[in-house]
């Protein structure tokens, strides 16, 4: 070793002034020379532009390694793995003033211990990984949270192609020196746009073909507002599900420091504050917040009289409860479900006492079914009608009304426990199945319900009342056939 090199390793301190805070290539060049000259890490100070040097350092200012001696002729190239260079290149973008010293210390150690990076429990290695991670996170947040705003030049639209007059400008405040390193991402993504990203650490300008760098900017240099922001805020507010408030999860990924530059963030406090009431409104709008289901027929009877969960319950009418045999042993296991009480049922307070009920009785008799042994009820408990003068004209219940009333029908079914349910008409079938079915297709065949009982579907007797002549004969025959099949099946079930 020459006398001078010896002198270097003995006492002198060196100060390296970085030309730019993110100039990794410069650091790499200097670090290589320092290693070749055998300068140990504790003899080097790394100074950022504008930063002050180390008091003890000897040769500083006036151009980085100018005063560094040339490395010895026979000095070998310093060794560093690809992985180290990759990590170091990224960690060098961190705003930690000690980053270059750390990188040099690690490079120094790698010369004698090439496996240093594998020991993730080592303090320097951990620090390097932490810096790398912080820079990657900052870059990722920049990719995510840069929000472009459109500046339209005054040029009239016809004068130029739209793309040529649109200029998108964003303001972003990165934590680290990542701006230049991330220019490529925005070029690849917004290749055909004209855009600028302004930051307190510098600016980028892309015109669709070339990239220019500019001096640091201030927030006031960036435009305020963009017409599309209202749409974006509306999207943000509506895609949020108030039933799933998880503020902590949001805060960890989108910390408050970013909020001031995100147009949607101003909505957050309001959305959080309103979430609980929005959720309860959502539930209440379902209007199905029923209490415990009543457990006996008299209790159901009482409850349905107070029910106003759907518009039918709010008309001038009264609920009509189902009815069946007074003794359990007289029950054949058959439950007959119609659509809803009509005018006469509403007045009389009992199911199937009007014209349709009388017709039903005739057909039941024909099939050999004793109505007194069946439980007879309706899918909807109130009479739906429109008033025309003195007359109340029957209206079919809507799907929503049927679904709402299903609650009560299921309560009845739970108490009565039929073996076989005969649903007459589309409303009754929907009430049992929860979907609209075609009577023509569903009739004549049993559907097994959740509790093991059987559902048979047929037409409603009032349908027969509306027909004449041949059509009526034909439908009546079909109806009789359905009832006969039910009667037969009931006998089988009774004997089983």
């Amino acid at each position: 070793m020459t006398a001078m090199a010896n002198d270097l390793t003995q006492g002198a301190y060196y100060s390296i002034e970085m030309p730019a805070p993110d100039d990794f290539a410069f650091w790499r060049e200097q670090a290589r020379r320092l290693v070749q000259c055998g300068v140990p890490p504790d003899k080097v100070a790394w100074v950022e532009p504008g930063g002050s040097g180390d008091l003890f350092s000897q040769s500083q200012l006036g151009g980085g390694g100018a005063n560094l001696p040339d490395p010895p002729q026979n000095a070998s190239q310093p060794r560093a793995s690809k992985r180290f260079l990759q990590l170091a290149g990224n960690a060098a973008l961190h705003s930690d003033p000690d980053r270059f010293a750390l990188l040099y210390r690690l490079l120094w150690r790698l010369q004698s211990q090439p496996r240093t990076l594998d020991d993730k429990t080592d303090a320097d290695v951990r620090k390097l990984l932490d810096l790398d991670k912080a820079v990657r996170r900052d870059s990722h947040k920049m990719h995510a949270f840069v929000r472009f705003r459109l500046i339209e030049d005054d040029m009239p639209r016809e004068a130029a192609v739209q793309d040529e007059v649109e200029h998108y400008v964003a303001w972003f405040e990165p934590d680290h020196h990542i701006l230049r390193a991330n220019a490529g991402f925005f070029m690849r993504r917004f290749a055909n746009m004209k855009w600028s990203i302004l930051t307190p650490r510098g600016t980028l300008h892309w015109d669709g073909e070339t990239m220019h760098e500019g001096p640091p900017a201030e927030r006031s240099d960036a435009p305020e507002g963009d017409p599309v922001e209202d749409l974006w805020r509306s999207y943000y507010a509506n895609i949020f599900n108030p039933a799933r408030l998880k503020v902590g999860a949001m805060m960890s990924e989108m910390p408050k420091k970013y909020w001031k530059n995100l147009p949607e963030a101003s909505l957050i406090p309001e959305l959080i504050a309103g979430a609980q009431s929005r959720e309860s409104t959502m539930v209440a709008a379902g209007a199905l917040e029923f209490e415990e289901r009543p457990q006996t027929l008299p209790a159901i009877d009482q409850a349905i009289h107070g029910c106003a969960k759907c518009p039918i319950g709010q008309l001038e009418n009264r609920a009509v409860m189902g009815e069946g045999p007074d003794q359990a042993e007289n029950f054949s296991g058959l439950m007959i479900v119609g659509e809803q009480p009509g005018d006469q049922e509403d007045l009389g307070g009992r199911p199937f006492i009007g014209p349709a009920g009388q017709l039903l009785d005739v057909h039941l008799q024909k099939a050999g079914i004793d109505r007194a042994t069946a439980y007879v009820t309706n899918a909807v408990k109130h009479f739906k009608y429109v008033q025309r003068g003195k007359r109340r004209i029957h209206q079919s219940p809507g799907a929503k009304e049927i679904d709402t009333c299903r609650w009560w029908l299921e309560a009845e079914r739970e108490v009565v426990k039929p073996k076989l349910v005969l649903a007459m008409g589309a409303s009754a079938a929907r009430s049992m199945l929860g979907r609209t079915v075609s009577i023509t297709r569903a009739r004549g065949e049993a559907v097994t319900l959740d509790d093991g009982s059987e559902l048979w579907i047929t037409a409603h007797p009032s349908y027969l009342l509306r027909l004449d002549g041949d059509a009526r004969m034909k439908q009546a025959a079909l109806f009789d056939a359905d009832l006969a099949a039910v009667a037969e099946r009931l006998r089988e079930l009774a004997n089983a």
């Binding site: 429990t121 472009f148 993504r189 746009m193 949020f240 503020v247 929503k400 679904d403 709402t404």
Partner: protein, 415 residues
């Protein structure tokens, strides 16, 4: 009725999409628009969450319904035919304009388009494919597109969707066939799985073709996914995990999403009125993770469930499994093979890899392991090192209580 504005439609159709769990935009083919004359957009493998909603979910894609009119009547769905929810309908061009306007401002990574079924399944699917076509062909859009496909639609249309989209998904909706029959009477489990099978074979074919021909068309490079609703019926976690595992195996799904049933406006009477605890959904995602990254078999995750078939809510499924199979522990950190180390509660995939590398050079002590994990307290009872032996800790009856997190007062607005 007066014409709805774009803003009004967006309010309705974004609101209707908020129950969908997926918003992922990762794992697709790399694309960028540099050097193209009119192209816009890029995908670089990793997805980017551009915002987070107060429900903790990320916003990566513009998640919309093309329309929330629907001829189906699924009970769990706010858009079902019999619901009184306000309705709206976008034209394909309107969705394209919204997507591009948001994309140019860097609000999103792309589009996630779903739809209620209007007229016929085929008609609806055609409209959705048209959105993707305009974006890709007329605007040379190279961002991410996720299309929700309709199982009842013509397979040819589903195939078309896969040619434009990065990812396609077909929802299985409910973990059991009986649940589907009860809650989604218009849907058919066989049809849903048939459509998944079709997508799988298209993906396999396209991958094969690309090996031979450089310019063979890509088909859904980000694969296919599905979603299951949790807590709308009586299906247990064991049912759900079993179903998910069968789907992963059978249709090479990239992801199964679990969406906790949430109370919807205008709910149907057959649904529960209360939402399931959100933590249940989280536990299912954790168990999903165990199957995908930790080498657990579905049967093993099921072993972690309680007598009711559900995963415990207070502790994670990995810890639950370890507590049930204490005989497998403690493991010697310096000798145990990788697949065993992955079973240690508190050790993630990354920590295990770091341990494997580090122990080539040194013998790890407890302190060294502590540096690689978030909490050594959780790990300690299940490992041993030269300076640490958990002696009777794994036999302690109150071990679960020691490791389960303490009840905490939830903060409304943690900063």
């Amino acid at each position: 009725m007066a014409q709805q504005t774009i803003l009004q439609k967006l309010e309705i159709l974004a609101d209707a999409a908020k129950y969908d769990a997926s918003c992922a935009s990762s794992g697709t083919a790399k694309k960028n628009s540099l050097g193209s004359s009119k192209g816009i957009g890029s995908t670089e493998g990793m997805g980017i969450c551009h915002a987070y909603a107060p429900d903790g979910r990320c916003i990566s894609l513009l998640k919309l319904l093309l329309t929330n009119h629907c001829i189906f009547d699924c009970h769990y769905c706010v858009n079902r035919k019999s619901s009184n929810t306000p309705r709206a309908r976008f034209t394909p061009q309107e969705v394209v304009d919204l997507t591009l306007n948001f994309y140019r401002r860097n609000y999103i990574e792309g589009l996630f388009l779903s739809s209620g079924i209007i007229k016929t399944s085929n008609h609806t699917m055609e409209q959705m494919v048209e959105v993707a076509r305009i974006l890709r062909e007329e605007h040379d859009f190279r961002g991410y597109i996720h299309l929700k496909t309709i199982p009842e639609a013509d397979p040819q249309l589903v195939h078309q969707a896969g040619l434009y989209a990065d990812r396609v998904s077909i929802n299985v909706e409910l973990p059991t066939d009986s649940g589907l029959t009860r809650l989604a009477p218009d849907k058919d489990a066989r049809q849903i799985e048939g459509a998944m099978k079709g997508v799988k074979s298209s993906i396999v074919e396209a991958t094969d073709a690309r090996k031979r021909f450089k310019h063979a068309p890509r088909f859904a490079p980000a694969g296919q996914s599905t979603q299951m609703i949790v807590g709308a019926d009586a299906a247990t976690d064991a049912d759900i995990v079993g179903k998910a595992s069968r789907l992963y195996d059978g249709y090479s799904l990239r992801r199964v999403y679990y969406s906790a049933f949430s109370p919807i406006p205008d709910a149907s009477a057959v649904l529960p009125l209360k939402r399931p605890p959100l933590i249940r959904e989280h536990r299912l995602y954790q168990s999903d993770w165990l199957m995908r990254f930790y080498g657990y078999k579905a049967g093993e995750v099921m072993q972690a469930t309680g007598a009711d078939g559900n995963l415990p809510l207070d502790i994670d499924p990995k810890l639950a499994w370890a507590l049930k199979f204490r005989g497998e522990f403690p493991l010697d950190v310096n000798r145990a093979p990788k697949d065993r180390l992955l079973r240690v509660p508190g050790l993630g995939v990354k920590a295990v890899n770091q341990i494997l590398v580090a122990r080539r050079y040194k013998t790890l002590r407890l302190e060294d392991v502590g540096k690689l994990t978030v909490s050594i307290a959780k790990v300690r009872p299940f490992i041993c090192t030269p300076d640490w032996r958990p002696t009777q800790l794994t036999d302690r009856a109150d071990l679960r209580a020691l490791l389960a997190p303490k009840e905490e007062q939830l903060e409304l607005f943690a900063a």
